[in-house]
């Protein structure tokens, strides 16, 4: 009984319907266990957590250098004063790009080429921020003190918005950035 101590022997293996269900459940858990390693080697979307420690000031300096060397234009958001004017920067195909999350903008805007692969270095300067690429809905964490490397291959063209999805103070819901793919 559920509310009384058990005194009679109660230790039995599963039988009948319970055994069938247990078999189904174990099989399903096994399938799910295989899916993640399978996708890690064969699938194209993975989060490997590749990262290096970095001082926020050093990361900012490296980003400014990246902007100065690869700037191709300026982007002004029509309605969002927080984003203001940000440089548009085009990294060389196959090269490194630097992206900063700070209160309350993603800096700089990136211009990428469809089908090329980039190493995007993602970090935050002040608080934690959430890199959320819309409308694709791809999400990664940006953390101060860590250079989070995303090896990314844009496969669709257009204008994409980076939304911040980690709470970062009063301007959080207006924190945006841009990625253009040509």
């Amino acid at each position: 009984m559920s509310l009384r101590p058990l005194t009679a022997p109660w230790f039995h293996g599963p039988a009948g319907h319970e055994k069938i269900w247990l078999g189904c459940a174990i099989l399903w858990c096994f399938v799910m266990s295989l899916m993640m390693p399978y996708w890690h080697f064969r699938g194209k979307q993975n989060s490997t957590g590749e990262a290096y420690t970095v001082k926020p000031a050093d990361f900012l300096a490296r980003t400014e250098k990246f902007v100065a060397a690869n700037r191709v234009g300026t982007y002004k958001h029509p309605g969002n004063a927080l984003l203001g004017e940000v440089p548009v920067v085009e990294p060389p195909p196959g090269g490194d790009a630097y992206l900063i999350g700070r209160m309350w903008q993603w800096y700089p805007a990136l211009r990428l080429r469809q089908g090329e692969t980039y190493r995007i270095h993602l970090s935050a300067l002040d608080l934690q921020h959430g890199f959320s690429l819309q409308p694709l809905n791809m999400n990664f964490q940006a953390v101060p003190g860590y250079d989070h490397v995303l090896t990314l291959t844009p496969t669709s063209k257009g204008e994409f918005t980076i939304v911040c999805n980690e709470f970062c103070g009063i301007g959080h819901s207006s924190m945006t950035g841009k990625i253009f793919v040509e």
Partner: protein, 567 residues
């Protein structure tokens, strides 16, 4: 049940014999069950009011709160619901589970007072500083966000107080065994509570490890802890505390189906093994929150997020079978044998404790479990992390699952422990249904909006200029669901508090029956104890569940395959 087998085994313990169940109730335990349960319900009401304000703000058309108060109330809501309400009620459940079923006395009144006082003071401190506007950091308070030191101190006090209550539980188990208050193995309800208590120990240890250096940092005494280290250890508190809920909730399922229908686990060894799998492996899933984080590698992520190859999911799937199977066997033994589902239609759907339990099982399993495992898949998390899909998941586990099960429990705890019959019993019969409906709508709204990329913890979705009318529609569904769930929560609190003051006293007589199916003529209890093929209905239901699980799981892999390649 006979009262003779349950005379006082621990002599000199002040207590009484329950007029309804014939079980012995220790007065000390009873007092602290009352104190903790009532405090829990008060925090539930506070968190509920906050929930209403939040739902009416995220419902973009209404957009009630100003921005600073939105984040403040969100912090307040998270802590009051996920920590205070749940922990107070769980301590009440622990005190019940280690005394009455074991015929034991509570180990120490003083320890129980200390635990209660620390928890209460800590919770009030935290709530005060949040409402004062000096801790707008969300429940997670991710560094480098920094709150007033009182915020961390309050949480530390709650954690230490709970740990002391858990110690009282373990000491009671030890004394009960030593003094031979019972012989044999502890009942399944107590075993489930043991699992909850063990997980609580791991949880609260992590809480201490992360909160103490954060507190000293906020005082300016020590350097800032590393933000990722904070995330790693904090989720050892934040996620695992919800695993305490899972164990407590499953125990409540076993308890209430037993009380209402006389059902028993069809196989004690399998049910207990499932709890053992929880104890050993469920806590690895704190990794769910770090799946798209830097600096922790794919091997660590995959191994931990899968609870060591889904052993804890296996445990939940076992409970998801054995709970309804126990009910089916009990109903068939009572003579409700027609067809595959004849026993389902004869169930006491108007008994709020039963309907609450059944809804809790269905909402937790079909909605909460399936979404949780899928979103917690390492790669799929890329298209879910920090979107509204996440709260969409945990509102059907923690609220539709745990809170609803605890509400169901209250429909027996208040008559049996507070010794008063419920007022307005008709309203009580509607309450779990309304709550289940509200929470389900809320979770659907969140999940679909989240699938469209709407982020959680965000005041406004118009500033980004990327969300269309469909996202707004789902946020409206979220809002309506939130309002319905709040109404039901309000009804629940009014019923409970009203009953404490105005309910008819019981004193010795059995409590008023909520409605339990009678055994038909010519049936004998236990007649199906050795029939292992008596659970056809449950078999069909669980296979339907598995089919939904498989479809949802692979649909998400498909959605993932459509986004940009990333490593």
């Amino acid at each position: 049940m006979s009262t003779t087998s349950h005379n006082l085994a621990a002599p000199g313990t002040p207590g009484r014999v329950c007029g309804t169940t014939g079980l012995h109730v220790c007065f000390d335990a009873q007092r602290f069950i009352k104190l903790n349960a009532v405090s829990g319900i008060v925090f539930l009401l506070l968190g509920g009011i906050a929930a209403l304000l939040l739902a009416l703000t995220r419902w973009q058309t209404v957009h009630l709160l100003p921005v600073d108060w939105f984040y403040r109330i969100l912090t307040f809501h998270g802590l009051n619901m996920l920590i205070f309400w749940i922990l107070f009620f769980e301590v009440a459940i622990l005190y019940f589970a280690c005394t009455t079923p074991l015929n034991a006395r509570l180990y120490s009144k003083k320890v129980a007072w200390l635990s209660f006082a620390l928890m209460l003071v800590g919770a009030l401190m935290t709530d005060y500083i949040i409402l004062k506007g000096q801790a707008d950091v969300m429940m997670t308070s991710y560094l480098p966000l920094l709150a007033h030191p009182v915020f961390y101190l309050g949480i530390i006090l709650v954690a230490v107080g709970t740990l002391i209550g858990v110690f009282n539980f373990f000491a009671t188990l030890y004394v009960a065994k030593r003094d031979k208050a019972y012989t044999g193995s502890m009942p399944i309800v107590t075993f489930g509570a043991l699992a909850a208590a063990i997980i609580a120990v791991v949880t609260l240890l992590h809480g201490a490890v992360v909160m103490i250096p954060t507190f000293t940092y906020s005082m300016g005494w020590t350097a800032e802890p590393d933000p990722i280290w904070y995330r790693l250890i904090w989720w050892g508190l934040g996620h695992q505390s919800q695993q305490v809920n899972v164990c407590a909730m499953v125990s409540v399922w076993y308890l209430l189906t037993h009380i209402v229908l006389g059902s028993r686990p069809i196989n004690e060894a399998v049910c207990r093994s499932a709890f053992v799998l929880y104890i050993l492996f469920i806590n690895l899933a704190s990794a769910h929150h770090l799946l798209v984080d830097p600096a922790v590698g794919a091997t660590w992520k995959i191994w931990n997020t899968s609870y060591a190859m889904y052993l804890a999911v296996l445990a939940s799937m076992v409970h998801g079978f054995t709970v309804p199977a126990g009910v089916e066997v009990a109903m068939r033994e009572k003579g409700y044998t027609s067809g595959i589902f004849g026993w389902v239609t004869a169930l006491p759907w108007k008994n709020p404790a039963f309907s609450g339990t059944a809804l809790s099982v269905v909402i937790f399993g079909f909605l909460g479990g399936i979404t949780g495992v899928t979103l917690g898949t390492q790669q799929i998390n890329i298209i879910a992390h920090n979107t509204l899909r996440i709260p969409g998941h945990f509102h059907v586990t923690v609220v539709g699952g745990t809170t609803l099960a605890f509400m169901a429990l209250a429909y027996y705890v208040i008559p049996l422990i507070f010794q008063r019959d419920f007022i307005w019993r008709g309203l009580a019969r509607v309450q779990p249904w309304l709550f289940g409906l509200g929470i389900t709508l809320l979770a659907f709204g969140m999940s679909f909006a989240g699938s469209m990329g709407v982020s959680r913890r965000s005041y406004d979705i118009d500033a980004q200029g990327v969300y269309g009318p469909a996202a707004h529609l789902w946020l409206g569904v979220l809002g309506i669901g939130g309002v319905l769930a709040f109404l039901s929560l309000l009804i629940f609190v009014v019923l409970c508090v009203g009953t404490l003051f105005f309910g008819q006293k019981i004193e010795g007589r059995p409590m008023a029956d909520w409605g339990t199916p009678r055994a038909l003529a010519g049936t004998t209890p236990g007649s199906l104890a050795h029939d292992h093929y008596a659970t056809k209905g449950t078999m069909v239901l669980t296979l339907v569940f598995l089919a939904c699980f498989v479809v949802y799981y692979f649909a998400n892999w498909k959605a993932l395959a459509d986004v940009w390649p990333v490593r």
